[in-house]
């Protein structure tokens, strides 16, 4: 029977909020300091090589992260409608629709939308093909340069040929950025950016690995909230400092055997982007029955270790090998390993209407994972930001049946 279980908040959250508010406030007033400090503003995709941009003193902001914020504040559906009325298809990713809606109707958008106009757009198709068309639309709206990094899909391992192809584009991107910013690439600065990125990534990895203990010190909503700096502030000292603090707090929980979910009974793995508009409500259906999401493929996607060696080559490898750019076999093996390493009893896949590359092959992965681990998997249909697609009762029904299957009744 469902019991009341408390949610245990992290003390670090308030530092996170301060840091993210500061980042967005700074970005918002970019027009005041950007020109005098010669720091152009770039809108970039989540899988873009931000370290290179930072080495050119470019200030990056992330429309996808903005989409997640709008989702959490439950204004996405309205902004999506604005984009749909302007002719964008309802089948387009809801981050794209939300962002385009926020450009068309800043009065409806949190913080009035992202600072605009951007000085340039940087798009890497390692996460999906959608971003290409989305950023082309942005380039048309603002008439600003668009830099594209094309990372071919990896059906198996990264080949030398692919690596060279991507590396050549990195070299061209350096030329383009030198022209656009009027600066030469400072290789030392780039190496430092990469070193700081690596530090933050290593900390994020260690924090996540603490969740192998039982009870797990973190649950999925914690992972989703505290991933913000690894996405948006990767390469900064702030991000490194923040993850040091978080690591300490999580480590303390482990030492005190403090679980994120009171009386953890069931350990689960999450697949796909968070359901932002129900970030707590959705997971409560699980936590009130003692089920904790101890790890996930989504926020874990930023544990992308940068190999040492030539910085451009290192980035070419890392950014091409992002998990969304890889085969169903790779994804299935990743899930199988997570289940084993984290000692999970089941997994839940969010079939996300928006994100086709993430969702389309889930059924194939689900069957293989269950076959090889004996652990059951549930698919729930929803959308990360557009809550018009979310049907609470059918989802609750499936979740309950699934937990009865995993944990017994």
């Amino acid at each position: 029977m469902a019991e009341k279980r408390k949610y245990l908040p992290l003390a670090s959250t308030k530092h996170l909020e301060k840091m993210m508010t500061r980042h967005y406030a700074l970005s918002r007033y970019h027009r005041l300091w950007g020109k005098p400090l010669k720091r152009p503003l770039a809108w970039i995709t989540s899988g873009a090589p931000v370290e290179l941009l930072r080495a050119f003193n470019i200030h990056p902001v992330y429309p996808e992260n903005y989409g997640a914020i709008c989702g959490t504040r439950r204004v996405s559906a309205k902004l999506c409608q604005v984009a749909e009325a302007a002719g964008y298809s309802q089948d387009l990713c809801s981050y794209a629709r939300t962002h385009i809606g926020s450009i068309l109707r800043p009065d409806l958008a949190p913080m009035g939308g992202l600072p605009k106009p951007p000085d340039l757009l940087v798009c890497c198709n390692n996460i999906c093909g959608t971003v290409l068309k989305w950023y082309e639309a942005l380039a048309r709206i603002f008439q600003v340069p668009l830099l594209v990094l094309d990372t071919p899909y990896l059906p198996a391992r990264l080949t030398d040929h692919t690596k060279e192809y991507v590396l050549a584009q990195f070299e061209q991107m350096v030329v383009d950025l030198e022209r656009l910013t009027g600066r030469r690439l400072n290789r030392r600065e780039l190496a430092e950016q990469l070193a700081r990125s690596s530090q933050a990534i290593a900390l994020w990895k260690e924090i996540r690995e603490f969740c192998k203990t039982s009870p797990s010190p973190l649950n999925a909503p914690d992972l989703f909230i505290h991933m913000a700096p690894i996405v948006t502030l990767r390469g900064t000292q702030q991000a490194v400092d923040y993850y040091r603090r978080l690591k300490e707090e999580v480590n303390r929980r482990v030492r005190q055997r403090q679980g994120a979910v009171d009386g953890e009974k069931i350990r689960l793995v999450w697949d796909n982007i968070a359901i932002w508009y129900r970030i707590f409500g959705f997971f409560k259906m699980f936590s009130e029955r003692g089920a904790c999401f101890v790890t996930d493929t989504y926020s874990g996607g930023w544990v992308m270790e940068l190999p040492s060696g030539d910085p451009l080559e290192s980035m070419a490898i890392t950014y091409t090998e992002i998990f969304l750019n890889r085969s169903p076999d790779f994804r299935a093996e990743q899930m199988i390993n997570l289940i084993k390493e984290y000692n999970a009893d089941g997994f839940v896949m969010h079939s996300n209407r928006s994100c086709k590359p993430y969702s389309l092959i889930q059924e194939v992965i689900r069957r293989r994972v269950t076959r090889e681990t004996g652990v059951p998997g549930l698919v729930v249909e929803a959308d990360m930001a557009d809550e018009r697609v979310y049907a609470e009762e059918p989802i609750r029904n499936r979740v309950q049946a699934f937990l009865e299957t995993v944990g017994g009744i």
Partner: protein, 259 residues
């Protein structure tokens, strides 16, 4: 002494109640339209059972509720209908490996182990395709009673193709077959094929293990039973009263719980 156990299944269209004794034998059952308040209907039905069996409320040792309205009913506990369905079917068919359930507003495929433990399930509940609701709409478009569909489908010479899964689009397909002069029997057979196709495709997600038991109100429709058996290429067992098996499972959980 309390000796009986109550199972209540408040579904989107109908409510079912079942009473079992301490051996797990079904001693009484009743069904009714859920209407506006499934909870009231469930109360009325279970009071009726008590009267029929000359029992008092204190004779009921425990109650378990399932179905969409399960949280509204003051039972000792609530269990999802998937778990209850598997429990009920494992009780009636010891060798059951798969349950296909087509109810009013959803359809599901459940894979289970002997004893009723669920190993996987797939559910369609976001649209009316492949559900009882779909059949009701099509019957109305053809001015037929729902019970007439099965016998009529058996008389079909050719099966009309209904290709759309969407209830609204399928209804206009039916209407265009009518205006093209197709015999009602052929259209009905096509409608049954369409429901079966939708559900059969769900079995590819869960796998299909014999014995396959078909439950839910739609299992009374011989047109769908035959179409489904043909598409799956296997025999289907249908319980005598296919709509009450989840309520039976709930009653059995009430009994286990009290042990």
């Amino acid at each position: 002494m309390a000796r009986y156990f109550l199972g209540v299944d408040i579904g989107s269209l109908t409510t079912k109640v079942v009473l079992v004794n301490k051996n797990g034998d079904m001693v009484a059952r009743a069904t009714g339209r859920s209407g506006y308040s499934g909870r009231n209907v469930a109360n009325r039905l279970s009071n009726g059972l008590l009267e029929e069996k000359k029992l008092a409320p204190k004779d009921i040792a425990a109650a378990v509720a399932t179905g969409y309205g399960r949280v509204t009913f003051p039972a000792d506990r609530e269990v999802s209908e998937i778990t209850c369905q598997a429990k009920g079917i494992a009780h009636l068919f010891a060798g059951a490996g798969t349950v296909i359930d087509i109810g009013g507003q959803d359809s599901k495929v459940i894979r289970l182990l002997p004893g009723g433990k669920v190993i996987d399930f797939a559910m369609n509940d976001k649209c009316a395709a492949g559900t009882g609701r779909f059949l009701e709409v099509m019957a109305a478009a053809l001015e037929l009673e729902i019970q007439e569909l099965g016998p009529l489908a058996a008389r079909a010479r050719e099966h009309c193709a209904i290709s759309s899964f969407c209830t609204v689009f399928a209804e206009s397909e039916v209407i265009s077959h009518v205006s093209a002069g197709a015999p009602k029997a052929d259209i009905v057979a096509g409608v049954c094929d369409s429901v079966a196709a939708r559900v059969a495709s769900m079995t590819s997600r869960t796998g299909l293990e014999p014995e396959v038991v078909f439950t839910g109100g739609v299992a009374r429709n011989s047109g769908v039973v035959n179409a489904l058996a043909k598409q799956l290429g296997c025999r289907l067992s249908v319980p005598e009263e296919p709509e009450i098996t989840a309520a039976l499972g709930a009653a059995l959980f009430a009994r286990d719980n009290a042990d």
